[in-house]
């Protein structure tokens, strides 16, 4: 405890350098937290989609309502169907308008007549997709069968891969910057305390005694940075959770357990402390010259 107090006293002597190091750590771990949440959230959505496959069956204009009802019945009886939702031409237009509301040119030329009627089929078992598709795709009234699940899974997987690779590259870059800033700050601190270090060395201080405050300093940057980063992420997620939930619709990922953030903080603090300590160790190896 006394060592921490001493280190805090040293930090207060040059607060701007300490602030720079802590901010670099905060930025690194804040971005890290966002990517962790994106990846975990994306994985949850992917799992949901994989577990709840969907089919869209589009009908030709000449298909009668009676025939569409019959096909709906065929679909309902052919597998583990949870729900079948009919979409009329008008509803299709409403959806189209909603999705393209920022594109007036695309909207003005489209009327309900251009759009097909369809049924959205939600299935319990992914393996039933093939059998249901086979049972309806050859019917003359059916224009097209689209398995959104395959497409969604493929898109989500690709998206997650990009997020994961992008996250690794960005966080690694920021971590390297944090490393360099810590090496620089601790190096400056060693230079500032050159006389004190020299005296301590001559009156019998061990190398560990001299080095210890710098390791504690590195660890403090790590703890402060990771704590602020996780608090920021938690606040941000709390603030935006209604909007995110609205976007996700029936995919429930909120509320996120506070325990998740405790684990996230523990993991990040551990990595951040390691970054701080290793940064300090490199600075000591490079700049601490005592006999």
């Amino acid at each position: 405890m006394s060592q921490i107090k001493k280190t805090i006293k040293i930090l207060r002597r040059s607060p701007y350098q300490a602030l720079a190091a802590a901010l670099a750590m905060t930025l690194t771990f804040f971005v890290g937290s966002i990517f962790v949440i994106l990846i975990i959230g994306g994985q949850l959505i992917l799992n949901y989609v994989e577990q709840r496959p969907e089919l869209h069956i589009f009908f030709k204009d000449e298909a009668s309502d009676t025939r569409i009802s019959e096909i709906t019945q065929i679909v309902k009886s052919s597998g583990s169907v949870i729900r079948v939702k009919y979409t009329s031409k008008e509803e299709a237009l409403a959806i189209y308008r909603e999705r393209l509301k920022g594109e007036p040119l695309l909207l003005e030329s489209v009327t309900a007549d251009y759009l097909p009627r369809s049924i959205q089929v939600t299935i319990n078992k992914p393996e039933d997709i093939i059998s249901i598709t086979k049972s309806v795709e050859s019917l003359p009234e059916v224009d097209q069968v689209v398995s959104l699940t395959d497409e969604a899974i493929s898109n989500l997987s690709t998206g997650l891969k990009i997020v994961r690779i992008g996250g690794i590259i960005l966080v690694s870059t920021l971590m390297a910057i944090s490393f360099l800033i810590i090496i620089m700050v601790v190096g400056m601190r060693i230079a500032l305390r050159r006389d004190e270090i020299s005296i301590m060395n001559l009156v019998g201080a061990t190398k560990w005694y001299i080095s210890r405050p710098f390791f504690v300093e590195g660890a403090i940057y790590g703890i402060v940075g990771s704590t602020i980063a996780v608090l920021l992420t938690y606040s941000m997620l709390l603030f935006y959770s209604p909007n995110i939930q609205e976007f996700l619709g029936e995919i429930q990922i909120f509320p996120v357990s506070p325990l998740f953030f405790v684990y996230l903080w523990a993991a990040e603090a551990l990595v951040a402390i390691l970054v701080g300590i290793i940064g300090a160790a490199i600075a000591l190896f490079r700049y601490l010259k005592i006999r």
Binding site: D195, I199, M200, L202, V203, G204, A205, T206, K207, R291
Partner: protein, 228 residues
């Protein structure tokens, strides 16, 4: 206690600071190492704490070759040998008390023990009332006594003093050496003082080792020194 055997120290620039020095200093002795500037006095003291290493020869401390002490054991030697540095080496952002406490802090002693020992030493050198002053607030003699207090607070077996009377007036210089003499007599601490102040050396009538151009010119009990 301390034995120099054929010690030579040459610096990388080729300057030979000490040459074939043979010298033995016993427990509880008070020795003046004298000589003009560049005679090798400071080099001799620095060799004892292994601030520098000899080019050849060996220096024994209680029979142990200082040169062979591994780096991790070096602090133990430096805790047994207190040093009053020529340039004081005081920390100007710390008070007298905090400066004197440094050798105890590096031993990780309890705060209460540090407080007790620092107060006792400051009383011994007559600086207790200046404990909370900063070095810039002190006179030359007080700065020197602070440096002595720091050197003895760890109760060393040997006290090295490198020109402790350097810039002091004769009266203050004498009072500083009297403090060293008191430490030597009361605590049985071996004192090795490097100086070129002939007046002080001749006044205190101690063993005098005269160095000239890196060699021992004279070594006398109750010796005298005539500066060049």
């Amino acid at each position: 206690m301390i034995q120099f055997e054929q010690v030579t120290k040459a610096y990388p620039n080729g300057q030979v600071a000490l040459e074939n020095i043979d010298l033995a200093i016993d427990d509880s002795e008070f020795v003046f190492i004298v000589g003009s500037s560049g005679a090798g006095k400071s080099t001799l003291l620095k060799l004892i704490t292994r601030e520098i290493s000899p080019t050849s020869g060996s220096i024994l401390y209680n029979g142990e070759d200082i040169r062979k002490i591994p780096p991790d054991k070096l602090p133990i030697l430096r805790r047994r040998v207190g040093t009053v540095f020529q340039d004081f080496k005081l920390l100007f952002t710390r008070t007298v008390f905090e400066n004197v406490a440094v050798p105890l802090e590096v031993r990780s002693l309890k705060d209460s023990e540090v407080e007790r020992r620092v107060s006792s030493v400051l009383e011994k050198v007559g600086l207790l009332e200046k404990a909370n002053d900063f070095p810039v607030q002190l006179s030359g003699g007080e700065v020197q006594r602070t440096a002595i207090a720091r050197a003895i607070v760890g109760q060393p077996e040997v006290l090295l003093a490198d020109e402790p009377t350097g810039d002091l007036d004769p009266k203050t210089a004498e009072s500083v050496v009297k403090v060293l003499e008191k430490i030597n007599k009361e605590d049985k601490t071996t004192v090795i003082m490097a100086t070129h102040n002939a007046q002080i050396v001749n006044h205190f009538k101690k063993r005098v080792v005269v160095l000239k151009k890196g060699k021992i010119e004279k070594d006398e009990k109750e010796g005298k020194y005539e500066s060049d």
